[in-house]
C-alpha cells in the first residue's frame, strides 16, 4: 500500500508547498496531497497513521465511554501546517524554530513517525548526533510497515553514527537501510 509518508518523503521539497496549500483549504475539502496517498477503496483516509498497525483488534467502541477524548484525525491540517512551518524554517536553516514546530506537532500527534523523523533530521543538522540517532529510532518504532520511512531513518542513523566516529555502527545502520529497500 502506498502511504502518505512515502509520498511526503519522496517529494520532500514539494511537501512544504503542498502542506501550506492544504493549510488554506476550505473546511470540508481535503487538500490534494492527502488524497494523493489514499489508495482507492482501501478504507483508510490515506493520512499518516497514528497507530500504524491495528493488530486485528475490534475497532474502538466510542459508545462505551461517555466522556471520551477522541484522537484528532491523524495527519490533520493542523499537523500538516506545522510540518510546513518546520520545512520553511529548515530551508531558512532556523533549526530551533523548526524544532519548535515539530514539537508542537508531536503534542497533537505523538505517534506520527514523520514528525519524529523530521525532528531527528533537525537534530542532525544542529550537530546533536546522539539525539538524532535516538529520535530516528523512535520514528522507526512507530513507523509500522512504512519501509521507505524506515530506510530514511536508518540512513539518518548511519550519518549520525559516522559523525560520532562509530564506523561499525554506521555500516550496520546502512545495511539495515538497504534491507528495507
Amino acid at each position: 500500500m502506498v502511504r502518505l509518508t512515502q509520498i511526503l518523503l519522496r517529494f520532500l521539497p514539494l511537501t512544504a508547498l503542498l502542506l501550506s496549500a492544504c493549510a488554506t483549504t476550505p473546511p470540508g475539502e481535503r487538500a490534494p496531497v492527502i488524497d494523493a496517498g489514499s489508495p482507492a477503496g482501501s478504507g483508510t483516509d490515506g493520512s499518516v497513521p497514528a497507530s500504524p498497525r491495528s493488530a486485528g483488534q475490534a475497532p474502538t467502541n466510542v459508545e462505551v465511554i461517555p466522556l471520551e477524548r477522541a484522537a484528532p484525525p491523524a495527519g490533520s491540517p493542523a499537523v500538516a501546517s506545522l510540518l510546513g512551518q518546520a520545512e520553511a524554517a529548515s530551508r531558512a536553516r532556523d533549526w530551533s524554530a523548526a524544532a519548535v514546530s515539530l514539537e508542537r506537532g508531536l503534542r497533537i500527534e505523538p505517534r506520527n513517525p514523520v514528525l519524529w523523523n523530521r525532528l531527528a533530521e533537525v537534530r542532525l543538522q544542529q550537530g546533536q548526533f546522539r539525539q538524532a540517532e535516538q529520535l530516528a529510532a523512535k520514528s522507526n518504532s512507530l513507523a509500522g510497515d512504512d519501509r521507505l520511512l524506515q530506510t530514511r531513518n536508518w540512513r539518518l542513523i548511519a550519518r549520525a553514527r559516522r559523525q560520532l566516529g562509530d564506523e561499525a555502527g554506521a555500516a550496520e545502520a546502512e545495511r539495515r537501510a538497504e534491507a528495507f529497500r
Partner: protein, 777 residues
C-alpha cells in the same frame, strides 16, 4: 519596553561654574555664601548621579511570570463549547454581544467569534486575529478568519498566567513602551494631571500657584502642584512624607531629570511607575498591569472610557477602586471625560456617550502566586539548575511551562472528592488520607498536572516530589520486562506458584507469599502479572537474576543504586511518585525514555529566548519486550487487579496499568495510561500507618475518577516490530486454533511462540494430558 538610551553629555554642577572666576572678597558673609553654593553644587552632583544611575540602569525589578501551556486550537480538537468559553475567560477574554477589541469573544451556541490578542511566544509572535470557530458537539469543526473566511489550520491562544515570582518588595508591573500606549490615554493623563507637561521644565510655577491658592483657601494641604515629572521623582527616589525639604529635593531632581531626558522618556517611565492598586501583598504598578488587573486585557485593547477610569485612579487608587467603590470610580471617570471635552480633546456628544457606559471591570481573578504550588515547586526545581533565585525575582523572565490548567483543576477537584469518599466508605478518620498525583504526556515527558497534597493550595510537604514510599507491586512490570527481554520467557511461560524459602546471609529467611495467601501450583506468566502474584514473580526474578532486574530498573530511570536483595522483586524499594512516573514513562512510550519536563522555554523581559528544554528521547529497553509487558498491563485493566477500569470504561478503551499495595496496606498506588497520558496516583497516610486500602481500593478510584472527567483517549494495541500476535488457549498457554472457543491473541517475539497445540485445538489427536508431557519434553 522602556528604552535605555545612554546619555554621554554631562552638566554636573553647572550652576556653580560661572561664579568661580569672580575675584575673592574678604567679607565673611560671602565666604559663607560660597560654602553654601559649593555644598549645593556637591549636592546637585549627588542628586544628578542618583537620578542617572536609576534611569539608565534597570529601572524596575520585574517579577518572573509563569505561564501554563497555551491552548492550541485546530479543527478536530476535542473541546466542548462550554469548556472553550471557560478557557477564554481564564485567559481574560470577555464575552460581548459584538466584537470590538482584541480580547473579546461572542458566542452563538456552537459558533464563536473571537478577537485574539497579540502574544509573543518563544519562537514567534502570534498575531491578533479575528476568527470564527465552529464546534460540532464536543470538538472544533472549523476555524476561519472572520474577514474572507480563509481556513486557519492552527491557532495558539495566549497562555494562562499561573504564577509570578515577585521581587521581595511586592511591586508588580508589565512594562509598556510609549508606542504601545494609546494616545487617548496619554492625552487624558496630561489633561488631568499636568496640563503644562509639554511646556514646563520639570516644575510648573502655574501649577504651584494654583495649588498654593487652593491650599491657602482650604487652610491646609489639599492639592499638590506636582507635575508628572515631580510625581515620577517622588515615586522613584523619595519617601512619601510631605516635608519642605523633600519638596525641595523633588523640585531639584525634577529639573535635573528634565535636563537629561526627553519628555517621551519621562512620560514612558511615569506610565510604568505609577501606583494603581493593591492585590494582597502585591502592588499594581503601571498602566500595563493595571489594564490587565482591572479589565483583563492589554492596554492597546482598552476602550476610551476604561482608559479614562485608569487615569482618574492615579489620584487615589484605593479611594477610587472600581471594585470596592464603583460609584466613586464612575464619578471620577466621568470627571476625566468631562475634562477632556472641556479641553476640546473629545466631542461633547462622544463624552456623553462614554459616560453612560458601564465600568467594564472584570471580577478579580485569583491571580494567585500560589494557585498550583506543587507544580510550581517542580518548575522551581528545574529552574534552580539554571537560574539564581534573585534573577527569578527581578529579571522579568517569562517561563512557559507544560501545565494543563484544565486537567490540573480536574485533578484537584477529584482528589478532594474521592479522598473524602474513601474516608467515609472505609471508616477512616476524616482528613487522615493523603495523596499525590502526577499526570504526564508520556511520548514527550511533559508534566501536565501535579498534586502534592489533597489540599491543592497547601504549599508545604510536596508528596509528589518528596514522599519516598514503598512501591510494592508497582515494580513487577519491570521484573517481567527483564524476564521477557532475556528471551527465556514468554507471556505463555509456565511459572511455579508454590512455597519456597530463601536463606539469607543475614536476618530471617525470605518466604514470599501471595496477597491472598493461596498457592496455585502453576500459572502462566501473563496471569502472574495480571493477578499480581508474588510467589511466581519472585521465582522468575531469582531465575533471571537480581542483577538483570536491577539493570533494567536503572536503565528505565531508577534514580539510585539498588542493593541486590530478593525483596526488591516485590517492591521493597522506596520511590517518590515523580520517580515512579519516570519509570513508567519509558514503559508506556515503548521503551523510549524522555526526561520529565515542567518547562518548555524561558525568555527574558524583551522576549528573547534564554533557554529551551527540548524534547529528548533515549531508547532504554527493547521495544519488542516492552510491547509484551504493555499487553499484559492492558489485561490488568481488563481482567486483573484493575478490572474495575474495564468495567467502567469498556475493554476497548485499551487502558493499561498496575496496582501497588504495600505491607499492612500502608500505601495504595496505581500507575496507568491511555493513548496519551500516564497518571501515577499514591494514596496513604503521612504517619505511614496502615489505612486499610489496597491499590485498587484507593489510588485506582482516584485515577479512574480523574480519567472519567478528563476523558480517555482509547488506544489500540500495537505490537512492536518483530512481535507477532499468535492464537493461544489461555488456559494451557498453548497454540490454539478454531477448535478453541476461548482462544486469544497474545504477542510473542518472533520465534518464541509455543508450537505445541492446546488440548482444545482441532486436529490434535493426542490423548488428554498428552500436551502436558509434550511441553515438558
Amino acid at each position: 519596553m522602556a528604552s535605555r538610551r545612554k546619555k554621554t553629555s554631562s552638566r554636573k554642577g553647572s550652576a556653580s561654574r560661572s561664579r568661580k572666576k569672580r575675584p575673592q572678597r574678604s567679607f565673611p558673609w560671602f565666604r559663607l555664601l560660597l560654602a553654601v553654593l559649593v555644598l549645593l553644587a556637591g549636592y546637585g552632583v549627588y542628586l544628578d548621579a542618583t537620578i542617572r544611575a536609576k534611569f539608565e540602569g534597570q529601572r524596575w525589578a520585574l517579577p518572573a511570570r509563569v505561564y501554563a501551556q497555551p491552548l492550541e486550537l485546530y479543527a478536530g480538537l476535542e473541546l466542548s463549547p462550554a469548556g472553550f468559553a471557560a478557557a477564554l475567560e481564564r485567559v481574560g477574554y470577555q464575552q460581548v454581544p459584538t466584537l470590538r477589541h482584541p480580547g473579546e469573544f461572542s458566542r452563538d451556541r456552537s459558533r464563536f467569534h473571537l478577537h485574539t490578542q497579540r502574544f509573543r511566544f518563544w519562537d514567534a509572535e502570534e498575531p491578533a486575529r479575528r476568527l470564527r470557530i465552529d464546534f460540532d458537539g464536543g470538538r472544533i469543526s472549523a476555524i476561519n478568519e472572520l474577514a474572507g473566511g480563509r481556513a486557519v489550520p492552527i491557532v495558539r491562544l495566549e497562555p494562562e498566567q499561573i504564577a509570578s515570582i515577585y521581587p521581595t518588595h511586592g511591586e508588580d508591573r508589565i512594562l509598556v513602551g510609549l508606542d504601545a500606549v494609546p494616545e487617548f490615554l496619554t492625552t487624558a493623563l496630561i489633561v488631568t494631571e499636568d496640563r503644562g507637561f509639554h511646556e514646563h521644565s520639570g516644575i510648573s510655577l502655574r501649577g504651584i500657584a494654583r495649588a498654593l491658592f487652593a491650599n491657602i483657601r482650604a487652610g491646609g494641604v489639599v492639592q499638590g502642584g506636582s507635575t508628572l515629572t515631580q510625581q515620577l521623582v517622588k515615586n522613584f527616589f523619595l519617601t512619601r512624607d510631605r516635608t519642605l525639604v523633600r519638596k525641595g529635593n523633588e523640585a531639584l531632581m525634577a529639573l535635573l531629570l528634565e535636563l537629561h531626558y526627553g519628555k517621551d522618556e519621562i512620560l514612558e517611565a511615569y506610565l510604568n511607575e505609577v501606583y494603581l492598586g493593591q492585590d494582597g501583598a502585591r502592588s499594581i504598578h503601571g498602566f500595563g498591569l493595571a489594564s490587565r488587573f482591572y479589565f483583563g486585557r492589554a492596554l492597546a485593547a482598552l476602550a476610551p472610557e476604561q482608559m479614562a477610569l485608569l487615569v482618574g485612579m492615579v489620584k487615589g487608587p484605593s479611594y477610587y477602586d472600581p471594585r470596592r467603590h464603583p460609584q466613586r470610580a464612575r464619578e471620577r471617570r466621568n470627571l476625566v471625560l468631562d475634562l477632556l471635552a472641556e479641553q476640546g480633546r473629545l466631542e461633547p456628544a462622544e463624552a456623553a456617550r462614554l459616560k453612560a457606559r458601564p465600568l467594564g471591570v472584570v471580577d478579580r481573578r485569583r491571580l494567585a502566586s500560589n494557585a498550583h504550588p506543587a507544580f510550581l515547586e517542580l518548575v522551581r526545581r528545574q529552574l534552580q539548575r539554571d537560574y539564581r533565585e534573585e534573577d527569578l525575582r527581578s529579571e522579568g523572565l517569562r517561563i512557559f511551562t507544560t501545565l494543563d490548567p484544565l486537567l490540573q483543576r480536574t485533578v484537584e477537584a477529584q482528589a478532594e472528592a474521592r479522598l473524602e469518599q474513601l474516608e467515609r466508605g472505609y471508616r477512616i478518620e476524616t482528613g487522615a488520607l493523603q495523596t499525590a498525583v502526577i499526570v504526564t504526556r508520556y511520548q514527550n515527558g511533559e508534566v501536565l498536572a501535579l498534586l502534592g497534597d489533597r489540599d491543592p493550595h497547601a504549599a508545604g510537604f510536596n508528596r509528589a516530589l518528596e514522599a519516598r514510599r514503598q512501591v510494592g507491586s508497582l515494580i513487577k512490570p519491570f521484573v517481567f520486562l527483564a524476564a521477557l527481554d532475556s528471551r527465556s520467557y514468554t507471556l505463555a511461560s509456565r511459572l511455579q506458584d508454590a512455597p519456597f524459602t530463601l536463606d539469607m546471609p543475614v536476618g530471617d529467611a525470605w518466604q514470599p507469599r501471595n496477597y491472598d495467601k493461596q498457592f496455585r501450583g502453576e500459572v502462566l506468566l501473563i496471569d502472574a502479572l495480571v493477578e499480581s502474584l508474588n510467589v511466581p514473580t519472585a521465582r522468575m526474578g531469582l531465575d533471571i537474576g537480581l542483577d538483570q532486574v536491577i539493570q533494567t530498573l536503572r536503565r528505565m530511570g531508577y534514580p539510585d543504586d539498588i542493593r541486590p536483595l530478593p525483596s526488591l522483586l516485590l517492591g521493597a524499594l522506596e520511590l517518590t511518585p515523580l520517580e515512579v512516573t519516570q519509570l513508567y514513562q519509558g514503559l508506556a512510550a515503548n521503551g523510549f525514555r524522555s526526561p520529565l519536563q515542567a518547562i518548555r522555554e524561558v525568555v527574558d523581559a524583551e522576549g528573547q529566548p534564554l533557554q529551551r528544554y527540548p524534547l529528548e528521547v533515549q531508547r532504554v529497553a527493547d521495544p519488542a519486550a516492552v510491547s509484551l509487558v504493555q499487553y499484559a498491563l492492558r489485561d490488568v485493566a481488563r481482567r486483573g487487579t484493575a478490572k474495575a477500569l474495564g468495567a467502567r470504561f469498556g475493554a476497548d478503551a485499551g487502558l493499561a496499568g498496575k496496582t501497588g499495595t504495600t505491607d499492612d496496606l500502608r500505601d495504595s498506588w496505581f500507575a496507568g495510561y491511555d493513548d496519551d497520558r500516564l497518571m501515577v496516583v499514591w494514596v496513604g497516610r503521612d504517619d505511614n500507618r496502615s489505612m486499610g486500602l489496597t491499590g485498587s481500593q484507593g489510588a485506582l478510584q482516584l485515577w479512574s475518577g480523574i480519567m472519567a472527567r478528563s476523558g480517555v483517549l482509547p488506544s489500540i494495541y500495537t505490537p512492536a516490530a518483530g512481535v507477532n500476535l499468535v492464537e493461544i488457549d489461555p488456559t494451557s498457554g498453548l497454540r490454539a486454533d478454531r477448535g478453541c472457543e476461548d482462544r486469544v491473541q497474545w504477542p510473542f517475539i518472533e520465534g518464541t511462540a509455543p508450537e505445541t497445540p492446546a488440548p482444545c485445538a482441532q486436529g490434535d489427536n493426542s490423548g488428554p494430558g498428552n500436551w502436558f508431557r509434550q511441553w515438558f519434553d
